[in-house]
Amino acid sequence: MLARRYAFRIIAILVLLLFTVFFFGPVVWLLIAPTKTDSQIINKAPLAFGSFTTFGRTFRDVTSYEGNLVLTWLKNSAIYAFGGTALAVLAAIPSGYGLALTRFAGRRALLAITLVVMIVPGTALVLPLFLEANTVHLVGTVWSIILPFGFFPFGVYLAYIYFSTTIPKDLLGAARIDGAGEWGVFWRIALPLAVPVVGLVGFFSFVANWNNYYLPFVMTYDNSQYPLQVGLPILLGSSPSINPVAATGGQALIYRPELAMATLIAIAPVLLVFLFAQRTLVSGMLAGSTKE
């Protein structure tokens, strides 16, 4: 009985370690690849370290590509992602409060629509959104990306859940009796208590916006408007390591280490948020549903 118990445990640990290699291996590879030259990536062992000097050179090669194009893309990513997140939070927090703690005609219908829209994958609306943006001449402007990013029904739902489960109603009632107006109650009492959900909505919105490819891909015309997610495949297509036809022109080209470095730059902000916010996030995600 006991031996069998240990056998199960050992098998479980082995399987978990195997999947650790699967999930973590590519991340480790990505961190190491820019420390090597193109030929070292091919000839050295996949997870062998190159040198920090090479890492620095690769970084400069990527950032100086076509007149700091990658930095422009990084800046665009930041504008789109932060702009969208700011709007999402601005819309979601008060509406979650309104849906949870006030009563008005159409409240239930609005909740039901929010639930449905939240589950329909956003990609399904990209083409129709483009056609709409086209008729109002917004295509090619930052608004064609920031406004759709700001529409974040999932955030509204999160805020709704938060306000309806964690804010003591007596507290709000007491404030009203003391003469605070509706806005005052929200601004001075509910909002300071809602900091965790602001962080949560902000996090999910930011990650979704930063990683979004299809919407900015459709909404932007020009090289200089792309976010990193859209720019990355352009680098890929222009790399003679991947696409031999691209090996024309004399300028500094994108090879494997540069591609890995560009990918690393593209994921770094979200990766940092993941690393630092991990604990808060996991507890927030489970929002009291677990006994942990």
């Binding site: 991340v27 509406s95 009563r103 939240m118 129709p128 490819y213 990355l232 006994k291």
Partner: protein, 314 residues
């Protein structure tokens, strides 16, 4: 690919349960609130919902129904008759079948295993599994491109075992659904493992202890007691993943760029719609395909909301 939704369901679940408990209490409007205040708070969101959720949907439907001979279903019929239409849906369904089956089995298996560990060890594993979620989108495709290339991949021993020596050996039309399933699993599975772990924490300890006293071993406890109690979550994961998987776009798009046409630009339905709209200027037929995908998404959403008892939240 599976987006943020995947990772947050326990909150919904918790509130759904809590909502049920306190429903009677909450239906009474809070003392002293005026009705107009509610409209004020939801105003920004309602405007965004109207302009960016409802308006484009209506616009897409009207475009899809507009034909040279008035309103009709000609665009739907024409898009259906395209030689790429059936293959595109076949491709994503193949991908979905492989992905959904392997993801359900592995996520449940890993969640059960992680759940049996000491808390500190288990949270380390959960974080490692969850981390690739940060790399969804184009970045994950570029990373996996290197993982699929025998000369650069740390998994090259596996690729060599399959007698692959070039990226072109890995990226073949027959392999594509498997490759996309691997990428989707890599970025999405960790979030679901966290979700399942949360659900498993709700399994009463007394129940498990009772089973163990009755002589049930780890495997029996997992299969007979824990699994039935998280079955609802597995179904939920399947349905949400299915809806997201139908929208496949960035993965085939980038793999197409990287392989110089090994993946046709109309591989998935979303790609086909994009191709029709931007390469052929056939916006009405593109809108018809968008409507097909939207209808599918809405059906799935309505099933979850009504059958999944999420609606009881209010």
């Amino acid at each position: 690919m599976t987006d943020h939704l995947a990772t947050v369901t326990p909150a919904e679940h918790a509130s759904a349960r809590r909502g049920r408990r306190t429903r009677g209490l909450r239906e009474r409007p809070p003392a002293g609130t005026s009705r107009s205040a509610g409209y004020f708070f939801v105003a920004i969101y309602v405007v965004l919902l109207a302009c960016l959720g409802i308006a484009p949907t209506i616009y897409a439907i009207s475009l899809a129904l507009q034909t040279p001979n008035g309103l009709g279903f000609a665009n739907f019929v024409n898009s259906y008759d395209l030689p790429q239409f059936i293959p595109a849906f076949k491709h994503v369904l193949m991908f979905e079948a492989i992905w959904l089956v392997s993801q359900s089995v592995l996520v449940v298996l890993l969640a059960l295993m992680v759940h049996n560990l000491a808390r500190r060890v288990s949270s380390a594993f959960r974080f490692i599994f969850y981390l690739p979620g940060a790399m969804a989108g184009a970045a994950s495709v570029v990373i996996w491109l290197f993982m699929f290339t025998p000369t650069t991949s740390p998994f090259s021993f596996l690729l060599h075992a399959l007698h692959y020596t070039l990226l072109a050996n890995t990226v073949t039309p027959n392999n594509l659904p498997v490759l996309f399933a691997i990428m989707a699993f890599w970025t999405g599975a960790g979030g679901w493992i966290v979700v399942m772990h949360g659900a498993l924490n709700n399994v009463p300890t007394e129940l498990i202890e009772a089973a163990e006293i009755d002589g049930s071993n780890v495997l029996q406890t997992a299969l007979r007691i824990k699994l039935p109690l998280i079955r609802k979550w597995v179904v939920y994961m399947l349905v949400l993943s299915f809806a997201a998987g139908m929208q496949l776009f960035v993965e085939p798009q980038i793999l197409g760029i990287a392989t110089g046409g090994e993946v046709p630009p109309q591989w998935s339905p979303n790609q086909l719609a994009y191709y029709l709209a931007f390469q052929l200027d056939r916006f009405n037929e593109a809108a018809a395909i968008s409507v097909d995908l939207l209808v599918l998404g809405v059906i799935v959403a309505v099933i979850i909301v009504w059958r999944g008892r999420l609606f009881e939240v209010q």
